[in-house]
């Protein structure tokens, strides 16, 4: 397989472009996604020029309206990929996402299919303040009827997005604002990644860390540091939060007997709680230490760099927690 290094942004764009070429029912819809602007994070740059404005549909600032539009189009067999620029703005379209997209199939007794992808991005680290730096994935994992993906690498981003586009179920596809410029190997050849299959991004013996999105990279860096200290960390990236590959997580915890769950979202009622709960039930007797989380404290994202740094998860916070846990200090 020919493999190149490309960015997460390029990987996402390739996924969309390939699927648009493969299937003419795939189209993009969202605010400011067409050229010359090409999306505020430039993920869609070039696509309107290549495919035209009928395949890359720009919409006024109407999240409820255009997400509803995407739902309706999906219901009659189109395959919309809608972009909500910041996950924070999903608040403007929650009804269409939660009460319509997620429920129509079930409510209709299985008549409907909703082959919809909602691409959005979250996360801190750019001093974007309270309304532009949330990580709201837990809301969607708590909503039956949705699938939720959160890729951490270019490889995963491309493979998962292609799968998302081909699935007939609605997918919330959550990118990270600080990952777009990260690079990684991506095959030239076509590939897809199934939903519900975690990726053990690093093997280890002493502690399992389940991390999502950008915190996977932080955790891998922390694991390097800890390795030098003689602590061996296994890093599990679920890649899709629902379906969740609980088996891989539980198997890892059974091996390492310790679990730390990491995410950027605020701790209280976050996705990490669900991972802990699953493990507390399914790996009972195998866990030799408290199960702990490394998440943002439950406050909104502050603006100033030093304030944001204070609340944001980072490599050091992860390493500290794992170290203390392994040393029995927690």
């Amino acid at each position: 397989m020919a493999v190149r290094e490309i960015t997460y942004r390029e990987a996402l764009k390739e996924a969309m472009r390939e699927e648009m070429l493969r299937d003419e029912t795939v189209f993009l819809i969202g605010e400011d996604i067409a050229d010359p602007h090409g999306g505020s994070y430039k993920v869609t740059a070039g696509l309107s020029t290549e495919f035209g404005l009928d395949r890359v549909i720009q919409t006024p600032i109407s999240e409820q309206g255009f997400i509803g539009t995407a739902v309706g189009a999906a219901l009659i067999g189109r395959r919309p990929i809608a972009e909500i620029l910041y996950i924070d703005f999903c608040t403007m379209a929650m009804d269409q996402i939660v009460n319509q997209a997620a429920k129509i199939r079930y409510m209709s007794g299985g008549q409907a299919k909703v082959p919809l992808v909602i691409r959005t991005q979250g996360g801190m680290g750019r001093s974007s303040a309270a309304q532009h730096a949330q990580s709201l994935e837990a809301w969607f994992v708590h909503t039956p009827g949705l699938l939720v993906a959160m890729p951490s690498t270019p490889y995963d981003a491309k493979g998962l997005l292609k799968t998302a586009i081909r699935l007939d179920d609605p997918v919330i596809f959550i990118e990270h604002k600080l990952l777009y410029n990260t690079k990684g190997p991506v095959p030239e050849e076509e590939y897809t990644i199934p939903f519900g299959v975690a990726d053990v991004k690093r093997e280890g013996r002493d502690c399992t860390v389940v991390a999502t999105s950008r915190t996977v990279l932080m955790t891998l860096a922390a694991a390097e540091t800890l390795e030098r200290e003689g602590i061996s960390v296994e890093v599990v990236d679920p890649r899709t939060l629902f379906p969740l590959d609980v088996d891989t997580i539980v198997a890892s915890v059974k091996k390492t007997s310790r679990l730390v769950v990491v995410h950027e979202a605020v701790e209280r009622c976050g996705f990490g709680a669900e991972v802990v709960a699953q493990v507390a039930e399914k790996a009972y007797g195998y866990v030799d230490a408290p199960i702990v989380r490394v998440c943002a404290p439950s406050v909104p994202a502050p603006f100033a760099r030093q304030l944001e740094d204070y609340v944001m998860v980072d490599e050091k916070k992860i390493a500290d927690k794992v170290r203390r846990l392994v040393r029995g200090e927690i």
Partner: protein, 342 residues
């Protein structure tokens, strides 16, 4: 209500509708009325669970509109959707089956009164969220346009929905994209307990919608022929690429918001006055006057409708209950509810 509709009160039969069409509309209106009456009765007898939002009094609107549609056209509907979906083609027996929670119901017991759908007939389903179907309908319109089809989609909603943001967003997008959506506001003068004039200050809906450059008409919703004609105009325009349309049909909900609502907020005289304008009675009178219907035929039709409803209830009751464990099915296409791949 504007002058366009006056012509339906004249003594000569309309030239633009055949006897068969008119009798079909009449029968469909009676079927809806009978369905609603029967559902109410069965609900009050404790046989049906949940809420029941009935539409007695409004039958002319869905029937007038849907009689202007073809089988491949789409509709979306609301919590008060029985009439809309019957008008588009739902069978009462499978609707009763749904209300009775049977495996033979349109939604296999998962949807109930508020969510009846029949995708095979373009009945995309009803939503219990006021205004929820407006943006979705724009998407159906967009999808039709994308695939170069000549179908149209009718989006039914109530007067109450016009205060929601989704009303504005949907009109704006439909207008920008010129999609084949016909927005039909069934203005029954109430949104739950609130009279229309408390929902929107001195609002002329057609004028408001005109600011989006969407052509609209306000019609007498108690006159099925007037509704039909307005719908036909809008459908023809939309089908031939002329973009979205809007119809406000002034109508009335004879009963409360849901079964059990005493509707103290509806003045008795108002109710009386609207009852006298019953669209079914009006059409019956016209059909008799035009010689399209005899008293005997009318009675026979009544018996036939009653039999259909009766058979529908029996079908429902004789059908197996949806099996409890099916509650966990049909959530995802590719996964079970726990996320295991199929």
């Amino acid at each position: 209500m504007n002058a366009k509709n006056a012509d339906t009160t004249v003594e000569t039969p309309p030239e633009d509708l055949t006897r068969e069409q008119l009798l079909g509309m009449y029968r469909r209106m009676r079927l809806i009325r009978g369905f609603e009456d029967t559902a109410k009765e069965r609900f009050e007898a404790g046989e049906i669970a949940g809420f029941l939002h009935l539409s007695q009094g409004q039958e002319a609107v869905p029937v007038g509109v849907c009689s202007a549609l073809g089988p491949r056209d789409y509709i979306t509907s609301t919590h008060r959707g029985h009439g809309d979906v019957i008008a588009k083609g739902c069978e009462v027996k499978r609707m009763f089956a749904e209300l009775y929670g049977r495996a033979t119901g349109y939604c296999k017991g998962k949807g109930g009164s508020m969510h009846i759908a029949d995708f095979s007939q373009g009945i995309i389903g009803a939503t219990g969220i006021v205004s929820g179907s407006l943006p979705t309908s724009v998407g159906i319109g967009l999808g039709i346009k994308q695939r170069g089809g000549d179908e149209v989609v009718v989006c039914f909603f109530g007067d109450g929905a016009t205060a929601e943001g989704g009303f504005h967003e949907a009109l704006n997008l439909a207008s920008l994209w010129q999609v084949p959506v016909i927005f039909v506001c069934q203005n029954n003068l109430y949104g739950l307990s609130q009279p229309w004039e408390k929902t929107a200050y001195k609002c002329d809906l057609v004028a408001r919608v005109a600011t989006y450059h969407i052509p609209g008409e306000c019609v007498d919703g108690m006159d099925v022929i007037a509704v039909h004609r307005a719908a036909r105009r809008a459908v023809e325009r939309a089908r031939s690429g002329g973009g979205p349309g809007f119809i406000e049909a002034k109508t009335y909900r004879f009963l409360g918001h849901y079964v059990g609502d005493p509707a103290l907020y509806m003045p008795a005289e108002e109710r009386e006055a609207w009852r006298k304008r019953d669209a079914i009675v009006k059409l019956r009178g016209q059909l008799l006057a035009w010689g399209y219907l005899t008293e005997a035929e009318d009675e026979a039709m009544g018996a036939e409708v009653a039999a259909e409803l009766q058979a529908g209830v029996e079908y429902a009751k004789a059908s197996p209950l949806a099996a409890p464990e099916t509650a966990l099915e049909e959530l995802y296409v590719h996964f079970d509810y726990l996320g295991n791949p199929r």
